[in-house]
């Protein structure tokens, strides 16, 4: 019986192809907007999560905003390592300079820090070594540069032992960083040089006081303990003023980002669901027209023995088929669009999940049933005599 009904529904859909297609179009557009928008948000979430995971989820960034004229000294910072849960501490300060090698001159970002920075940030070297504590103590003029800097200044990476000039000070290159995974192939990356914290103070004339630092914990679980201890320490250190400093937890950033993305997903999904709903109303509209047009057919079927349930099923299956076929076409087109976005649009990356495809299918079927039931009910309840008498 169901096979018969499906066949009849198929017949009736195919007998008016243009109308069926236009009805489906509502569903196609609805499904496409749902799948594509959610895929784009998914892609964005993924890339943000990846780049945060790159930095490491067991890291705190501390900023001193008001040092109450009693700034943190380098030695004080090093003592923080005595806390059980703290693994590494690295102060940093930033600056910019003009880097020169022979005739090449480029603007470069400077990071003044200590050896611990390397571990906390999860950097990796292609050649040479990173800054050591002895370099910091002795304020040696050594620099570790990134790939872009090596390429821009030297045109190659075999540059350990070479000398570059940063704002006129001569620095020896001791290491070259590996290209970062997340910025691979990105030509606009900045030139960066890592130098001893003390060396940066010297060339920029800054104090040797610390206003920014990174702290890492042994593992993700002890993050909260570290955050508590550091907060307590800073609170006491800066005359019980909680506004004097700020602590940013990388896992907090990640949580915030993913909650923003979740909100986006629901919002866009909701908008798309509304367009699916509009598609459903289109189906209902056409089904109602079709029921009226086929009044005579319904009368004939009833005269020769079709029951209410049979007629109901026939029209319901027809509505369901239109919505599900529309949904399938929509999913195929979405898959093509998502592939197209990933291929041709650099600034977006979309990721289509099985979940959203299932949701789209389920929702379309639901809409087919909900908006198909009334027309089908109307058809099923036509009295056979009146239906037979109807002429069109």
């Amino acid at each position: 019986m169901v096979i018969q009904s499906v066949k009849m529904a198929m017949d009736s859909i195919m007998s008016n192809k243009l109308r069926s297609f236009l009805t489906m179009l509502g569903m196609i557009i609805g499904v496409m907007s749902l799948v594509i928008l959610v895929s784009i948000v998914n892609g964005a979430t993924k890339s943000v999560t990846d780049s945060i995971a790159n930095i490491g989820t067991n890291m705190l960034a501390v900023n001193i905003k008001d040092d109450k004229d009693e700034p943190l000294s380098l030695d004080e910072i090093e003592e923080l390592i005595d806390y059980d849960s703290v693994k590494n501490v690295a102060p940093y300060s930033t600056g910019s300079a003009t880097a020169k090698y022979e005739r090449t001159s480029e603007s470069i970002s400077l990071y003044g820090t200590t050896g611990a920075y390397y571990d906390i940030k999860g950097l990796s070297l292609e050649r040479g070594r990173f800054i050591k504590n002895a370099d910091v103590e002795g304020s040696t003029f050594v620099a570790v540069i990134n790939q872009t800097a090596a390429q821009e200044l030297f045109g190659q990476t075999h540059v350990v032992g070479e000398t570059i000039s940063l704002n006129g000070y001569r620095f020896t290159v001791i290491g070259v960083l590996e290209e970062e995974e997340s910025t691979k192939g990105n030509v606009s990356e900045r030139l960066e040089a890592y130098i001893p914290f003390t060396a940066l103070s010297k060339i920029t004339g800054n104090t040797r006081n610390v206003s920014s630092l990174y702290i890492s914990s042994a593992d993700e679980e002890s993050m909260d303990a570290v955050e508590n201890e550091i907060t307590k320490f800073l609170y006491q250190r800066f005359s019980y003023d909680s506004d004097a400093f700020s602590i940013t937890n990388s896992s907090t950033i990640m949580e915030a980002m993913s909650s923003v993305n979740d909100t986006m997903k629901w919002m866009l999904g909701g908008i798309a669901a509304i367009s699916l709903l509009v598609g459903g109303i289109g189906i209902m509209n056409i089904m109602l027209v079709s029921v009226t047009e086929r009044t005579r057919e319904i009368g004939i079927r009833k005269a020769i023995g079709a029951r209410k349930k049979t007629i109901l099923m026939q029209f319901l299956i027809e509505a369901l088929l239109v919505s599900v076929m529309g949904c399938l076409i929509g999913i195929l087109l979405s898959a093509a669009t998502v592939a197209g976005i990933n291929r041709f649009v650099d600034s977006l990356s979309a990721s289509m999940s099985v979940d959203i495809v299932m949701i789209a299918m389920g929702f379309s079927a639901f809409i087919g049933v909900v908006f198909g039931i009334y027309p089908a009910y109307k058809a099923a309840n036509k009295p056979p005599i009146e239906a037979l008498r109807y002429s069109n």
Binding site: M1, Q4, D11, S12, S15, R296, E297, G299, I300, R301, K302, A303, I304, G305, A306, R307, K308, K309, T310, P383, P384, I385, L388
Partner: protein, 224 residues
């Protein structure tokens, strides 16, 4: 066997009561060929709707094969129509999207009969109306006479208690009409009960028994 006992049906049209059937009584035995004749407005259609189980009477009794037809729900009436009555309409009433054989098969589909059995019975019905070469054609590709043959095959295929024909020659030219009437005679000879409703004396006279309906009342008449 069909037994109508004092059937009444009243409609209200514009505040006036119209007695479409006024204590109509009639008995038709199995294997009879009965024509019911009457002018339009005589209650002919109402009688046909009630006999065809498309509608139920307000009063009186109707027994079909000894079973009283009263107060049935729509679905139960649908089952009775499906199993016991084969309709042939003036305007054929075939489903235009289905082929001749699919139209004939449809009542059996509603009976949920197995596919092989359906095919066997459709083949049989098609050969009874001599349409073997047109079975794959859609109604629009068939002449009026051929369409009416498809309709007759559809009526026959369920082996009903009666074939109820409503002006079956009304939309056909006289030659084709005669052919269809010839087919009814054949079916009658094969033992089918045929009830033919018409306003055409010439057609009505071909039946072995003629019943006249006037103002909702039934009168027996001698066939000429």
């Amino acid at each position: 066997m069909i037994e109508l006992d004092n059937l009444c049906k009243t409609y209200e049209i514009g505040g006036d009561e119209v007695h479409a059937l006024d204590h109509a009584s009639l008995k038709i035995e199995d294997g009879e060929f009965v024509s019911i004749i009457g002018p339009s407005g005589s209650g002919k259609s109402t009688l046909m709707n009630i006999v065809g189980c498309l509608d139920v009477a307000d009063g009186g009794d109707y027994y079909l094969d000894g079973v009283p037809i009263e107060n049935y729900k729509e679905d139960e009436l649908a089952r009775i129509r499906n199993e016991k009555i084969g309709f042939v309409f003036q305007n054929f009433n075939l489903l235009s999207r289905l082929s001749a054989e699919e139209n004939i098969e449809l009542p059996l589909v509603y009976q949920q009969i197995h596919k092989e059995e359906r095919k066997r019975r459709v083949d049989e019905a098609i050969s009874r109306v001599s349409l073997e070469r047109r079975r794959k054609h859609k109604p629009v590709e068939l002449s009026g006479g051929q369409q009416q043959r498809v309709a007759i095959a559809r009526a026959l295929v369920t082996k009903p208690s009666m074939i109820l024909a409503d002006e079956p020659t009304g939309n056909l030219d006289s030659k084709t009409g005669d052919e269809i009437m010839e087919l009814f005679h054949e079916l009658h000879k094969q033992g089918n009960t045929i009830v033919l409703i018409t306003h055409d004396e010439k057609v009505a006279n071909q039946a072995e028994r003629k019943v006249r309906i006037l103002d909702g009342r039934v009168y027996e008449e001698e066939s000429e």
